[in-house]
């Protein structure tokens, strides 16, 4: 009740206030505060006295209302928040999942306690030491719980998003992702194609290395194998160490009755598809293949639509390249999704040659994200040099906005490509924000006598992005593409008119699949 007195005193126009029981002691106190009225004097110990001294009638009415509200409603603010884990576990004793987003070096201690209590873990934290990850994943397996991560950007369990993710239809594809935005693009694309997911499990970017041996990937494969709702499984990753890849292939061949698509973005080999296992180098193709494996009719229709989109992109690119002046030579890509940046880089390198990037392993073409662009440049804004001091670009798009505007000023730029990640935990109004930025960028170039193209890949379902928002983006002058691969392909064509054979190769490897 004293809390309420305090809150009342904070109300507009209230000079002093008290809510107390009508004991003699309290009445005396009220008297000393000039808050005791006739009613107050005659109150008994069991009465609640509300005494308010106000500046005017209005504030009094307001304050009385507030007082009644306080006495009736329960203070639910911060009821479910705790300052330490043991208290939370005491209160919420049948918890079954924990989501960790604390600095990586502190994860182990917390995770051990949680695993021992049989909770599955979603570990968003990065910089978890490798030894800790190995230890924890072994402990998790011993305790028969999942450890999703570390550095898992996304998991979707029964439609609930952990980390970043999209409102995707429920369906029969299970996704295993060593990449957050890989899961995001593939799941939203499935949704776009009329399909859906059972679960999407993030296993962390290191799970498929030889030293971790695919521990959680294998565990998830078993889960999907035993899940009647999952008909086919899509694995999304960057290239995987040989031993682990072979282990996975063996496991599928020997123990699985379900169809698999292995999407290995950046894979150098051309792998042959088998009955059960299909390979892909791009997210788009992996989604097409998995749709084919569960619904051949739908696949045929979709394939046609995709083919048309590709043809239109080629035409668009040609028209845009005609509008360029002689100085405009380069593409700049600024990404919130690491895997998307990587996929884009692979495609661009095949079509226009080497690109500078902060994802480059090649020293010559390695460039830090926070220095000016050089020639063709692709930057992942989720990398260390940005996120050590600021939130992830999916949550906070400011740094990227500045870069877009900076490069819009560069007379050598023909096209800027960006991914706009929407959905759960993405920046509020991210579509409006980016529309504004793009409008400004194109305007800047226009004022300097240039036609600047801005291409966007929007990662989101109809539940994440409204028609109005899409319109806003179109109105800004941006060109919208339904996949990261398509956007990158089109950008490359703006820079370089490619020959027929190269286009066919790219379409076969990254856009549509074997028929090309």
């Amino acid at each position: 009740m004293m809390q309420f007195s305090q809150q009342l005193k904070d109300e507009q126009g209230v000079i002093d206030a008290a809510i107390v029981m009508g004991t003699d002691l309290n009445k005396n106190t009220l008297k000393n505060m000039d808050l005791l009225t006739e009613d107050g004097i005659s109150a008994t110990e069991n009465d609640t006295l509300i005494s308010i001294n106000c500046q005017d009638e209005n504030s009094l009415n307001n304050a009385v209302q507030k007082a009644e509200q306080l006495l009736v409603s329960d203070s639910a603010k911060a009821k479910n928040e705790f300052n330490d884990l043991p208290s939370a576990l005491d209160y919420f004793s049948n918890a079954n999942i924990a989501s960790l987003s604390i600095p990586g070096q502190f994860v182990k201690e917390m995770a051990i306690e949680l695993i021992k209590k049989q909770l599955h873990l979603f570990v968003f934290s990065d910089h978890v030491p490798l030894e800790d990850e190995i230890y924890l994943k072994n402990l998790a397996l011993d305790n028969n719980v999942l450890l999703m991560g570390p550095e898992a950007g996304t998991s979707i369990l029964n439609g609930t998003v952990f980390g970043f993710g999209n409102r995707v239809r429920k369906g029969s594809v299970g996704i295993i992702g060593a990449s957050g935005t890989g899961i995001q693009e593939s799941s939203t694309m499935l949704d776009l194609f009329g399909e859906g997911i059972s679960h999407a499990i993030g296993v962390g970017g290191r799970d498929l290395r030889n030293d971790i041996g695919g521990m959680m990937t294998m565990k998830t494969m078993e889960i999907f194998e035993n899940d009647p709702n999952t008909k086919a499984v899509l694995l999304v990753s960057k290239p995987v160490d040989d031993d682990v890849r072979n282990k996975i292939i063996d496991k599928i061949n020997n123990f699985s009755k379900k169809n698999y698509v292995l999407c290995l973005v950046g894979d150098n080999e051309n792998r042959e598809d088998s009955d059960k296992i299909k390979f892909s180098k791009s997210i788009q193709i992996s989604v097409l293949k998995i749709v084919k494996s569960i619904n051949d009719d739908a696949y045929k229709k979709i394939k046609t639509i995709v083919g048309n989109q590709v043809n239109e992109s080629i035409k668009l690119a040609e028209s845009l390249s005609n509008d360029l002046n002689n100085e405009q030579k380069y593409v700049r890509g600024f990404f919130a999704g690491g895997t998307l940046c990587y996929e884009s880089k692979i495609i661009l390198e095949q079509m226009i040659g080497k690109v500078y990037s902060n994802l480059s392993s090649d020293d010559t073409y390695s460039i830090k994200g926070n220095v000016p662009s050089k020639e063709n440049t692709l930057i992942d804004f989720g990398e260390e040099e940005f996120t050590s001091a600021r939130p992830h670009p999916i949550i906070d798009p400011l740094l990227r906005k500045n870069r877009i505007l900076e490069d819009a000023n560069d007379p050598n730029v023909s096209v800027i490509i960006i991914d706009i990640i929407c959905g759960i935990n993405a920046a509020k109004n991210t579509m409006a924000f980016h529309a504004e930025t793009i409008k400004q960028a194109i305007q800047t170039a226009k004022e300097q006598g240039r036609k600047l193209s801005v291409f966007t890949y929007i990662c989101g379902t109809v539940k994440d992005v409204s028609e109005d928002e899409l319109q806003m983006l179109t109105d800004s002058g941006a060109k919208l593409f339904t996949s990261n691969a398509l956007m990158s392909f089109a950008a490359a064509l703006v820079i370089n008119k490619s020959d027929e054979n190269l286009i066919k190769k790219i379409r076969a490897e990254f856009l549509e699949g074997e028929l090309f």
Partner: protein, 51 residues
């Protein structure tokens, strides 16, 4: 294996807790803070006498 009714303990970023409750998931939040960094002198003493 994946529970039908998710009951989540969120430790760390508050926005993640909020997004879970917005998705109508039963969740609680732990305002995690790192243990205070001990002065070298104290840490040395504790190393010698603490379990």
């Amino acid at each position: 294996m994946i529970p039908n009714n998710l009951r989540v303990i969120n430790i760390g970023l508050r926005v993640f807790y909020q997004s879970l409750t917005e998705q109508k998931i039963e969740a609680v939040h732990v305002n995690w803070e790192p243990k205070p960094k001990l002065e070298k002198e104290i840490e040395d003493i504790l190393d010698k006498i603490d379990e």
